[in-house]
Symmetry: C2
Subunit: 227 residues, 2 copies
């Protein structure tokens, strides 16, 4: 997949602008677990996912994590280029959740085009609004929903993302996604198991009653597009 | 204060673009308590604060509130024009916290200029990044900090905003800012009072030991600009 097909506004850039982006862009292949970007200081550049999966999360001073969004094929990671955006004052860490193949567009090249191109600036706006909506959704979750609902929701999302009901994931890792502690996750998963909704084994969680998990976490994620 | 001086990119717009914005903009004067915008469906337009103060907050299905940011003189409220931004899928309510004088720039007029003007699109980007940072800050608060820290922080901010250590504010109202319940606020304020940090009376909270309140809530808000 080439860079053009990942950037929907490509055709609205001038030939010069297209050239400067494609000349500057490099390919990068990373192994699962690689940290691609950490904190606000680095300027890694815009990351475009050709294949694989990335995770963006924030870290507390004590090392607790919470996932703020995932990026899959064709997604563009804006905050790895946050130094480009004036006023961004928070630190996001981005890691590869699967072996991934990326385009990296250096920040300077992207910014130079964005400053002159209304289409690219408006596209950047759309990217940011999308991420903003994900964070607001997460905020509403954290504020108004109980932990069992959030955990059920996470398991269902993960299952959809992985295309399987048998998830290879540790309780520690789930805690890192949800900004919680391992013990809290373990306790709730055991409760889910006692209710027949999941089956636990070392390093895995199998969803055995998707219907009840769904009922538990309703209103589900799409409900944020509320009328 | 005219519209030009509120929009820092004014001079980088063409004469035509300036004209279409200033022709479309209207003045609006609102009383304290007026709800200016609610939810994602309405398209109130871009609000520019000439004087007064606005508050943007989200609401849970059960009617709980949490303040996501405040807008004071010269601030621009983007999310009252969120219908303009593709991908924004959350509902923000905006109300006047003080009697306010505003410019309202209708969404269509703003969008028409933004689509052709890289400077205005990039400025809109900056506005959004600023709000995004505030929301991420809030997320970190909600996730990682205890309620006493958040309450102390709120009281200090409020005192700075009002220019007084004697705040006229109800516990109910504080709960609405922090996404909490009135009882929880009352209990914590009573504890603060027993520690000599505040003095409570009907409808008011007086800060009597700013130093200890500050120590309690450290790291303070500016700490989000962390290195």
């Amino acid at each position: 997949m080439d860079l053009e097909s990942c950037l929907p506004v490509w055709d609205r850039l001038t030939a010069d602008q297209q050239r400067s982006l494609s000349t500057a862009a490099t390919e990068k292949s990373v192994k699962k677990g690689t940290v691609l970007h950490s904190g606000g200081q680095e300027c890694t550049g815009l990351l475009v996912v050709r294949s694989g999966q990335l995770r963006a999360y924030i870290l507390s001073d004590e090392g607790r994590e919470i996932t703020i969004y995932r990026l899959v094929e064709m997604d563009v990671c804006l905050f790895s280029a946050s130094c480009m955006l004036r006023n961004i004052q928070f630190d996001v860490t981005v890691e590869a959740e699967k072996d991934s193949l990326l385009w990296v567009v250096p920040t300077d090249a992207y910014r130079a085009v964005m400053e002159r191109s209304a289409p690219l600036a408006n596209y950047t706006n759309e990217l940011m609004s999308g991420r903003f909506s994900e964070v607001m959704w997460l905020m509403e979750q954290v504020m108004w929903r109980s932990f069992d609902q959030r955990l059920a929701d996470f398991l269902l999302q993960e299952s959809a993302l992985e295309g399987t009901s048998a998830l290879s994931i540790t309780h520690e890792r789930i805690a890192g996604h949800l900004g919680s502690a391992r013990e809290v996750v373990t306790r709730m998963l055991r409760y889910f198991q006692s209710e027949g909704m999941v089956k636990l084994a070392r390093g895995s969680v199998e969803l055995t009653d998707v219907k009840r998990l769904s009922a538990l976490c309703a209103p589900k994620k799409p409900a944020r597009h509320r009328q």
